[in-house]
């Protein structure tokens, strides 16, 4: 018997134009939490997808409890005891919690003694039991679509637990969770660990990694860098090994000087009574206004309201004293507002289309000759400018955007908005799911834009980012603005205090 529960050796995997994995490896001990770290595009998710049978490896071997195995598809992985909670959850919103958990392996019974049918009573009873086990309290009969993102994630974990897995892959499990939910997740992870489950934990959050994991494997550019006990590591050491260079500052020095008030929002109220209401705030020229709050504080909804994606009832938006009429994104764009949305996949990228198509879609009118003909050279110039300016890694401008890493996709989307030269730029979680190196690059871009005089609103759920990047922080709680804090005075504590100021 090997000392490892699961071992991957010499794994190679190529995609058209990219070598995603180059002799990567991983050794997983029973009953431990093993953090897998690396910049976006380092190949963490790809390696996990190879383990889980979603991708086929070009080269390499997998040993499971000492036996050499080949995993052809996720079903086979599940049967072996390997389960995965995906970075992007893939639930079926219109079915119940119970059906989502037991999808594909429903408990059966025989009707009339011979017709096999689904045993719904057993299914929902088992679901209730499982939910208790992952310390979650909601009705197994509830439609999955009615749950919050964090609750859906708990359901995914419950699903993995119910498969009696021995290896559990958690891919960025905390990216959309509040602090309390993270604590709850960690308790579940500790429980599983005590049961002897090996957990692969992918995250970009250093404090979490150092707290929860036993061992850390670091990858860079698809290659294996090394594995260390978590005790021997510090944030600085991890970052240095991840990026292969010293990162002295997490945040760039900002040289922007906020000027006069340009953008004003008064008494802005949603059409939905549970959403944002009576919001007032001002934004200065060249200012970075951070927006903090817990998940559910309606920050995204407010910004989507300002951008015309959601409807509002009352409220006044003005730019330099002039009132803006916004009822859909097009009118917001035409009036100099841009918004990088939170969910890249749902409202950002057009996956099958090229980088060029994706980057130019919001500003196509600029590249027209004679009013009708799109000049391909101008579009190519736009792509090349952005590729150079933001260090976008792509084989060509014709590459489908879905084949890029998250960080590079995000840069393309930022480029999409900058092409319009907006006055006000709303960034909703601009660095979500992005590795440290690319994060720093995005911070630099934001700082540079503010220096150029653009007014920036940045929603962030990462306290450190909020404090590190904002000139001023607006905090929301349950649809209301509960206060403003000047950048230098901001601490985790005073932000948290405002964020939990429920009525």
């Amino acid at each position: 018997m090997s000392e490892f529960r699961l071992e991957m050796r010499g794994v190679c995997k190529s995609f058209p134009g990219v070598k995603a994995l180059d002799h990567a490896q991983l050794q997983l001990r029973p009953g431990t939490v093993h953090a897998l770290m690396g910049e976006n595009g380092a190949g963490k998710s790809t390696l996990m997808k190879c383990m889980f049978g979603i991708y086929k490896m070009d080269e390499g071997e997998i040993y499971y409890e000492g036996q050499k195995v080949t995993i052809h598809d996720p079903m086979e992985a599940l049967h072996m005891g390997i389960a995965m909670v995906h970075q992007e959850l893939q639930p079926i919103p219109a079915r119940t919690v119970g059906e989502n958990i037991f999808l594909g392996r429903y408990p059966m019974k025989k009707a009339l003694g011979f017709i096999p049918i689904v045993d719904h009573d057993k299914m929902y009873a088992d679901t209730a039991e499982l939910l208790k086990k992952v310390r979650m309290e909601f009705d197994p009969h509830q439609m999955l679509g009615e749950l919050s993102v964090s609750q859906m994630q708990s359901v995914e974990i419950a699903k993995a637990v119910s498969a009696n897995c021995k290896v559990l892959i958690l891919d960025e499990p905390t990216s959309s969770l509040t602090q309390n939910e993270v604590e709850a997740l960690f308790r579940i992870v500790e429980d599983l660990k005590a049961d002897g489950v090996s957990i692969v934990y992918i995250s970009h959050k250093m404090d979490e990694i150092l707290r929860i994991s036993d061992e850390v494997t670091i990858m860079r550019d698809g290659q294996y860098v090394g594995t260390w006990p978590a005790k021997e590591l510090t944030t600085d050491l991890i970052i240095t090994r991840m990026v292969g260079r010293e990162l002295t500052n997490l945040y760039p020095k900002r040289e922007n000087r906020p000027g006069e008030v340009v953008f004003k929002v008064e008494d802005f109220t949603s059409i939905n009574p549970k959403s944002f209401r009576h919001v007032d705030f001002e934004l200065r020229k060249g200012e970075i206004l951070g927006v903090g709050g817990l998940v559910g504080a309606q920050r995204t909804e407010l910004m989507e309201g300002l951008f015309g994606i959601r409807s509002h009832t009352t409220g006044r938006i003005s730019y330099k004293g002039e009132e803006l009429k916004i009822n859909r994104p097009k009118s917001a764009i035409d009036q100099g507002i841009a918004m990088l949305t939170e969910d890249r996949r749902a409202t950002g990228i057009m996956g099958v289309l090229s980088i060029a198509d994706n980057i130019s879609i919001a500003s196509l009118k600029q590249y027209l000759d004679f009013g009708v003909y799109i000049n391909g050279k101008k579009v190519e110039q736009l792509v090349q400018d952005n590729v150079a300016k933001m260090n976008i890694k792509t084989p060509s401008s014709k590459t489908q955007i879905q084949s890029l890493s998250g960080g590079n996709q995000q840069k393309v989307l930022i480029g999409r908005w900058l092409a319009n030269n907006p006055d006000v730029l709303i960034l909703d979680e601009p660095t979500r799911g992005i590795d440290v190196g690319a994060k720093y690059e995005i911070y630099c871009i934001i700082a540079e834009l503010a220096k150029q005089g653009k007014s920036i609103i940045m929603i962030s759920s990462e306290m450190a980012e909020l404090i590190g990047m904002s000139d001023r922080i607006m905090v929301m709680c349950d649809g209301r603005v509960t206060g403003f804090i000047d950048g230098p005075d901001a601490t985790q504590e005073n932000i948290m205090e405002l964020a939990t100021k429920f009525e």
Binding site: T341, A346, L353, I361, Q384, P395
Partner: protein, 344 residues
């Protein structure tokens, strides 16, 4: 950014062959049939192929916009039928005693634009129902398909319409250089006027799809409608325009179809929507949206028409045709989709 490696010509050809296995297979079969069966490589057969392909190509171009935006248009065939009947009625020989309606005589151009307008109206209804009322395209156009057929039955009283003005017949059936010189012991039958329509609209659609904002918006909507909306694309207007354009293409196809078989009736155009959708899909238009090229659509339609002619020349019992066509559709799309699966 890395420079894309230069691809040599043989590599390019090999890639094209690998990319279009069905088209290549059919070209090979055609060559073999051509060598074995007399008259396959004849001008008459070629003209026949051009004529059939043009009409299907125009319909397929129309429906392609709907498919690229993740929609569909089941009303295509019946719209072609109604427009064919309308054109036929407008352009019946005024001296013919059995005229359907005792309307005044219409000029060819005026008649063409009336038909075009009716097609656009059908498309407008489709577009409004789909984009404004948010009815799924499959259901919306299933409804209009039935309605349009009903209108056609009422309008024609289920009677066939024939005996057209000479100018109309000539306009559609005519050819350049007809009998201008001898080829062997036969007269050269000329280049059919219809070829002009195919070339013209092929180029026009290529231009729209690749070089205009409307085309880019169409692909964007197919790629991710929400993202397109957030990027400032007026998705409602774009979709309406796509369905109106489609309706106009069916009108043109109907206008050109009526004098082809000698007459139009309420059954004209039946099932053409499925042929058009099949042609698009064989030609690589993705039903999951965002992908499709004019060149691909032409190849797809051509494959389908060539297949029909090959079967005819091989003296296959025509009852088998549908079976073979169905198999080709499934095989072609299965092979096309394999390209994407393999990339994982």
């Amino acid at each position: 950014m890395e420079k894309t490696a230069k691809v040599s010509l043989p590599q390019k050809i090999w890639k094209a062959i690998k990319g279009n296995p069905i088209a290549v297979a059919l070209a090979v079969v055609s060559l073999i049939v051509g060598c074995l069966v007399e008259n396959f490589f004849s001008f008459n057969n070629l003209n026949n192929l051009i004529n059939n392909t043009t009409i299907r190509f125009l319909i397929a171009l129309g429906v392609s916009g709907c498919l690229i935006t993740k929609g569909t248009d089941l009303s295509a065939g019946r719209s072609v039928g109604l427009c064919a009947c309308l054109a036929a009625t407008l352009l019946q020989d005024p001296t013919y005693t059995g005229r359907m309606y005792n309307w005044p005589e219409f000029n060819l151009v005026v008649a063409f634009f009336i038909v075009l307008l009716v097609g656009a109206l059908i498309g407008l209804v489709n577009g409004l129902v789909i984009a404004k009322l948010n009815v799924p395209p499959f259901i919306a156009t299933l409804g209009t398909q039935t309605i349009v057929y009903g209108i056609c039955l009422v309008f024609t009283n289920a009677q066939p319409i024939g005996s057209f003005k000479d100018s109309y017949k000539k306009f559609v059936n005519g050819a350049f250089f007809n009998g201008a010189f001898m080829v062997g012991d036969k007269k050269f039958p000329g280049i059919p006027y219809l070829l002009i329509w195919a070339v013209l609209f092929g180029l026009l659609f290529w231009f729209i799809y690749n070089k205009t904002t409307h085309g880019k918006y169409m692909y964007a909507i197919g790629g991710n409608e929400n993202a397109a909306e957030v990027s400032g694309v007026n998705t409602v207007r774009s979709k309406i325009m796509i369905y109106v354009t489609a309706g106009m293409m069916y009108a043109i196809a109907g206008f050109l179809l009526a004098p082809k078989g000698g007459g139009a009736n309420s059954g004209s155009g039946q099932g053409y929507e499925l042929e058009a959708i099949a042609g698009c899909t064989i030609g690589g238009v993705s039903t999951t949206g965002g992908i499709g090229t004019v060149g691909g659509i032409l190849v797809g339609v051509l494959v389908f028409e060539l297949l029909k002619i090959v079967l005819q020349f091989l003296d296959v019992n025509p009852y088998y045709n549908n079976i073979v066509q169905g198999l080709v559709i499934i095989t072609a799309v299965a092979m096309d989709i394999r390209k994407y699966i393999a990339k994982k």
